[in-house]
């Protein structure tokens, strides 16, 4: 140790050869090892999340009535898992951007071919029968010989429409009320302002399920039980505090100067709000709109409790009853309904991802 330390401590000029190439190689190797390990870890933790979805889709497109077999599942796994590992390896081993693209394309091509050969013949759209056959339960049951006792399903598009209606109306109300309320909270001083802000957070922390019995009674007395508007009101009430809180953060970030400037430029308070302040919080509005919509789209507990007639079913109730009725007979149909239910929120998430990311940046400020 001492023998090494002494030349280091003396002048650099007396140390004739520093092997720069070796140092660079070592650094490169360390960097690559780190990246490889990191990706291995990320792939490992994401598998439990991705695999169920993958299975859901595979089952939806491949399972057959009355047949409970997992061969297709395993065959598709045999394609996907090596493909993921190959992707990772080619990313780790590639020496440049060009090699990386060639590697990834090659892996993708091989995987697609293998999938077509191993799984392709088993794929079919038969499980999506519910899209065109409202009484699909009877049809499915008849294939295995038990015709009677099927649940009377409404048209799936009707449930789809109900879900859109609930989520959409709720979103419109929440966005309107939350942006106005948050603007007021952000800009005006009034008695009780700070306690209101605090209670917004407390309200959001409240487990809503504890309120389900009183809510049921209230809706019953008002006469809104088993109506879509009743559920919408309940959802709005529970979504508002958080939306207001998020929006307040966005409004807080809009400088006063801009608004004062608009006022002296001749705008009224309302005109200033609409033409100058609102455009600054556009991302916040988009973020709470998407969140609220998805929240309404996936709502289950409230619709399950407050909606009874099957003409009032939403997609989540439809999903529930499909599972209840044909699960034992045909889990392919159940999966297909699941996929159908999943697609709109997936599309929405992907389209709005950019704005949702901003919520954590711009939004959360007391």
């Amino acid at each position: 140790m001492a023998a090494q330390a002494i030349p280091m401590a003396s002048t650099a000029a007396s140390e004739p050869t520093v092997d720069w190439d070796a140092l660079a190689t070592r650094a490169r190797l360390a960097r690559r090892t780190k990246a490889t390990v990191l990706y291995a870890f990320l792939i490992a933790v994401s598998l439990p999340i991705i695999l169920p979805y993958f299975w859901l889709v595979t089952i939806a497109f491949s399972a057959k009535t009355g047949v409970a077999e997992t061969a297709v599942l395993w065959r598709s796994m045999a394609v996907v898992v090596p493909a993921v590992i190959a992707f990772w390896l080619s990313a780790a081993l590639a020496q440049g951007r060009r090699q990386l693209w060639i590697g990834l394309t090659a892996v993708a091509a091989v995987a697609a071919l293998a999938f077509a050969v191993l799984v392709g013949p088993d794929l079919h759209l038969g499980n999506f029968i519910f899209l065109w056959e409202p009484d699909f339960a009877s049809v499915v049951r008849s294939r295995v010989g038990e015709v009677k006792g099927a649940v009377q399903f409404p048209n799936v598009w009707h449930a789809f429409g109900n879900s859109i209606l609930i989520a959409g109306t709720q979103t419109v109300i929440v966005v309107t009320v939350a942006s106005l309320a948050a603007y007021y909270l952000s800009r005006f001083q009034f008695p009780g302002r700070s306690s209101m802000l605090r209670s917004l957070l407390v309200l959001h922390a409240f487990p809503v399920l504890t309120l389900i019995v009183p809510m049921f009674l209230m809706l019953y007395w008002i006469g809104l039980l088993d109506t879509l508007s009743g559920v919408i009101l309940v959802l709005v009430a529970f979504e508002l505090p958080f939306a207001i809180f998020i929006m307040k953060g966005f409004f807080d970030a809009v400088p006063w100067d801009i608004e004062m400037s608009a006022l002296t430029d001749g705008a009224s308070r309302r005109q200033a709000f609409v033409s100058v302040v609102l455009p600054q919080v556009r991302n916040g509005i988009l973020a709470i709109a998407v969140f609220t919509f998805i929240r309404g789209w996936e709502e289950y507990i409230f619709v399950f409790t407050f909606l009874i007639r099957n003409s009032n079913w939403t997609m989540s109730l439809y999903m529930y009853w499909v599972r209840d009725d044909v699960m034992g007979v045909d889990y392919g149909v159940v999966s297909a309904v699941g996929v159908f239910y999943l697609v709109p929120s997936l599309i929405l998430y992907m389209a709005a991802q950019r704005y949702l990311m901003q919520m954590s940046i711009g939004g959360v400020k007391g």
């Binding site: 801009i258 430029d265 001749g266 705008a267 009224s268 005109q271």
Partner: protein, 354 residues
């Protein structure tokens, strides 16, 4: 164009009285500066003029009409903020167009006005850009154009130059000044920078803690500051202030004895650095530090009464640190303040010790 008048104007925020009692007349077409340290109420006064704050008491008059209750949008006031406050989601053109949206102007007419105003402040090339694509100076010009496009009767400038770099500040100063002369619009500039105030304004209103300390031309404030505060606030490098006791026609300050006329009691002597010169006679000291400033040289001299700043014209350093010097001045240039009341004693002067 308007004549502005503050009559016993009071502004309170809750229990905090920011402006206790303000009386001020700004003549039509005048360029005045509200000068003071931060928190002195100058921006509050400006926002009351703009109609953003309501006065808590007193009367605010435009051309003899009380405007206390008149909405900001009806006052026809143009304002340029320190941050420029351009609307980030609009192009420069739409920013300048914005005030005209609320007036009964046809679109063609409005666009023509925008074009003319943009040419006036020389941003006609930048009209399609967003504020984020403009430099600080360009944003400043666009903000100025937006304030001027509606031909305001009153132009308010809230620290308009403080976000600009030094050279840009210099040229914008000249430009705003000449623009104001050209348009003849009554203008109120709020600033904490005395150079800005003295170079641009016809008259300076020096404020402190919500009260007007002195109103006057830049010369008045510089040569005849009415109080110790104004004397200390105006001038760079700052004035030398020395507190002492007067008895029998002399003031004793830290061992030096100055003959005094026209004052007695606790006095503070004020001497501008450029009024001091090295001489054979005067009070003694030792040069501690030399700061060449280009055209002039600032010497910091250690004396019995503390560090004294001496500003000498010329660019060659004729002295060296550690040198023993004597400092003299012309009695006419000396200022004498009553230490208790903090006020200037008019007509009182001191002479340098022999």
């Amino acid at each position: 164009m308007a004549k502005i008048e503050f009559r016993n104007v009071v502004k309170r925020f809750g229990t905090v009285e920011v402006i206790p009692d303000m009386n001020l007349v700004i003549e039509d077409g005048e360029f005045v500066a509200l000068l003071g340290p931060s928190g002195c109420g100058k921006s509050t006064s400006l926002f009351m003029l703009a109609g953003i704050y309501l006065p808590s008491g007193g009367e605010l008059l435009f051309d003899g009409h009380v405007v206390n209750e008149v909405e900001a949008r009806d006052r026809n006031v143009g304002i340029v903020f320190q941050s420029y406050a351009l609307y980030p989601h609009m192009s420069a053109r739409d920013n300048i167009l914005f005030p005209l949206r609320f007036k009964k102007t046809s679109r063609d007419q409005a666009l023509a006005r925008v074009k003319a105003t943009a040419e006036l402040v020389r941003v006609e090339e930048l009209l399609d850009r967003r504020p984020s694509e403009l430099s600080g100076g360009q944003q400043q010009r666009v903000a100025l154009a937006r304030a001027l496009v509606k031909e305001p009767q009153l132009l308010l400038l809230d620290e308009p130059l403080s976000n600009l770099d030094a050279s840009l500040r210099l040229s914008m100063r000249t430009e705003i000044k000449s623009l104001q002369e050209q348009l003849g619009v009554t203008t109120v500039l709020v600033t904490h920078d005395q150079i800005e105030a003295t170079t641009m304004a016809d008259r300076i209103i020096c404020m402190r803690a919500g009260q007007i300390e002195q109103v006057g031309t830049p010369d008045d404030l510089y040569l005849r500051p009415s109080s110790l505060f104004v004397a200390g606030f105006i001038g760079s490098p700052p004035i030398n202030l020395m507190a002492g006791e007067a008895a029998g026609g002399t003031v004793t300050v830290g061992g030096a004895i100055f003959p005094v006329e026209g004052a007695s009691g606790s006095l503070t002597i004020g001497l501008r650095p450029e009024h001091l010169r090295f001489a054979e006679t005067g009070f003694a000291g030792r040069i501690a530090q030399i700061e060449p400033m280009g055209r002039e040289i600032l010497y910091v001299v250690e004396t019995g009464m503390g560090a004294i700043r001496v500003l000498e014209q010329g660019s060659s350093v004729a002295h060296s640190t550690g040198e023993q010097v004597n400092i003299d001045f012309h009695p006419e240039n000396s200022l004498v303040f009553d230490t208790q009341r903090q006020k200037l004693i008019t007509g009182a002067h001191v002479r340098a010790p022999d």
